[in-house]
Symmetry: C2
């Protein structure tokens, strides 16, 4: 296809080592030049997209979550290696981030401080060229986007060590913001204590989810230790800091620093896929990407069987419900609102039809957003 | 050069918006396919480099700091835009990181916890494909590399808010490890307090360097506030947490979380280039990259003028000394060791000659390492 490819990798086999390395490095340099040229051409085309959009006079969203998700999926699907799919996806995330910044720098607020998992999630979703601003509370992330101080916000919504982040869900009850995306992030668990001697540990404190996620490791390494469930892993670390050498906490490695504890063991979670989920909040109506989720906020009248009949349209249409979470509505003593995640985009005919039926049953009904499933 | 380029960006100007966007996106998709193909070809060549090196039977270093620095500089020098040089550099950092991981995953220990600035420095230097391990102390980062638990380590060495990190320098006195690279990271300062009202603040606590770095901002915004110097910015934040509404601290945004303070103002540093410096430590002898630094550890006899005559060979050869730092040697009451950074590589004739003369004057002389100057 390209001229330089005629110098095949196999031709180096009969050369001296120095000459072979020099030859391969020349090839790599030529590849790099081509990649660099293509990157800049891509940025030119991205700027052209911006110009066409601006010329149309409509309100312009340079960042299109559904389009980025489609590109990333395509890249990963057609990948032949030797680079792993995820690595190529990560490189393209950075390429898109840089090209987007060349159109217009994107302002994103996140739950700080700098170094927080939410910052890592924001970087994973938007790439390194985004302009990030740490904000001190979840409510302030919402406010930053509502007041157009930032175009998007990133907040945690499910935390594998602390459970649901109810602040985030509650904010949607009063905020007009929509969900424009999701990010999942792998979280590691650490065993922390005042000693580095694993065999001294008689009691382990942690949130029940963390205990569950490390059950196998605990069973292998500390078969006789007592496991005590607490409200959060941070609470566990705080307690252990006030106790003796024979107790330990499961927590993030940050907690070791904050509470002055030693890391006894790292990455003790049984499943490699232990993840925390974050939401990208914004004001955009995100189009279908082919693999989407829709988040609903609904409420029923307080009578027996109301929830069942509310959910019936979904079941009847075979629409998969990935989670349901109830929260007090704060309006009446016994009224609840439900946060429901379903598979599919609200613009798809099957989902739209089921949602219309569901809306008839509900006393409150809002689509919080349809957005692409996390790709990376 | 390539066929698709005949469809120039200017041809879209007379199309309808939808058709124009579709056309441009097709071009972008074709560019993406070419980039992806080139990325995988690059990874194949990188694997071939590994095979040639392994076949030679010598001890193999797949990661070559000087070569990566040369590639990054070349990429940034030949860049024509519209992507900024630094953005293209960042993308190539990730490409090299992914290709290297396809040869052999690189293990790097850093001063944790996860989310620390040192982690950010390690990612900036090695790219996102590296396998990072947080370690609790600077001494343990050295130990991790000395015991070959990790191939490299990353430790802070100059911190713009806390001054020199003397632990790091002191470790070189007893450790056989070398300096294999440097990383600089931009650090932001935040004004933290119990109020969000700037006009209430009467006193500001911080490390003297932080006060100096924010002097102009403080003069503009808090002309009547008293500025109090403390040992560290963390200490300032801790104190402010125990005091009233009319005091504030300058610190990193992490401190707001740890001490429960509000962010009153963000990025208050006067200079955009406020940076912290980190060292990459390892066992490698890094070759010349064209723009290098050399770190020396020297000691003199304790007599008048000894330091002056020690440094004379450098001055005579016109070799630029970028810093000198003295530390007690811990061997005698009045003995000091000096950490000296000079421009140039120890293998370059001019530097080698000056170092030979310097060695004659010194009672202790060690080259801690020659390494490429930070590129990104």
């Amino acid at each position: 296809m390209h001229l330089w490819l005629s110098l095949n990798v196999s031709t180096v086999e009969h050369m001296s080592e120095q000459k072979a390395l020099q030859h391969i490095r020349q090839q790599i340099d030529e590849i790099d030049q081509q990649i660099q040229q293509l990157l800049n051409q891509r940025a030119e085309f991205a700027q052209k997209v911006a110009e066409v959009k601006i010329a149309s006079g409509e309100q312009v969203d340079f960042y299109r979550p559904e389009r980025e998700a489609m590109i990333l999926r395509k890249v990963m699907e057609r990948n032949t290696g030797p680079l792993p799919d995820a690595e190529v996806g990560r490189i393209f995330r950075e390429i898109m981030s840089a090209c987007l910044a060349a159109e217009k720098p994107l302002q994103v607020a996140y739950l700080g401080p700098e170094g927080s998992f939410t910052q890592a999630a924001a970087l994973k979703h938007f790439g390194g060229s985004v302009q990030l601003q740490p904000v001190s509370t979840i409510a302030n992330v919402f406010r930053a986007v509502e007041t157009e101080y930032a175009r998007y916000g990133v907040v945690p919504v499910e935390n594998s060590s602390e459970g649901m982040v109810s602040h985030t869900l509650d904010r949607f009850i009063s905020s007009p913001l929509k969900i424009n995306g999701e990010v999942t992030l792998r979280i590691h668990h650490y065993l922390l204590g005042k000693t580095s001697q694993l065999n001294q540990i008689k009691t382990v404190y942690a949130h029940p989810q963390a205990l569950a996620q490390c059950r196998q490791w605990l069973g292998d390494q500390l078969p006789h230790a007592e496991l005590v469930a607490l409200d959060s892993n941070s609470e566990a670390a705080r307690r252990v800091a006030e106790m003796g050498d024979d107790v330990a906490a499961i927590a993030a490695s940050t907690a070791a620093d904050i509470y002055g504890l030693e890391v006894i063991a790292s990455n003790i979670e049984d499943e490699a896929g232990n993840t925390t989920r974050f939401l990208v909040i914004g004001t955009q109506d995100v189009g279908p990407s082919g693999e989407d989720k829709t988040a609903l906020l609904v409420s029923t009248q307080n009578k027996p069987g109301a929830l069942q009949s509310l959910l019936k349209p979904l079941a009847d249409s075979g629409i998969s419900m990935s989670r349901i979470e109830s929260r007090p509505s704060r309006k009446g003593m016994w009224e609840y609102v439900f946060f429901i995640d379903i598979d599919g985009h609200s613009q798809s005919p099957a989902v739209a039809e089921a949602l219309a039926k569901l809306q008839n049953e509900a006393s409150v009904f809002r689509v919080l957003g349809s957005y692409p499933k996390a790709v990376l």
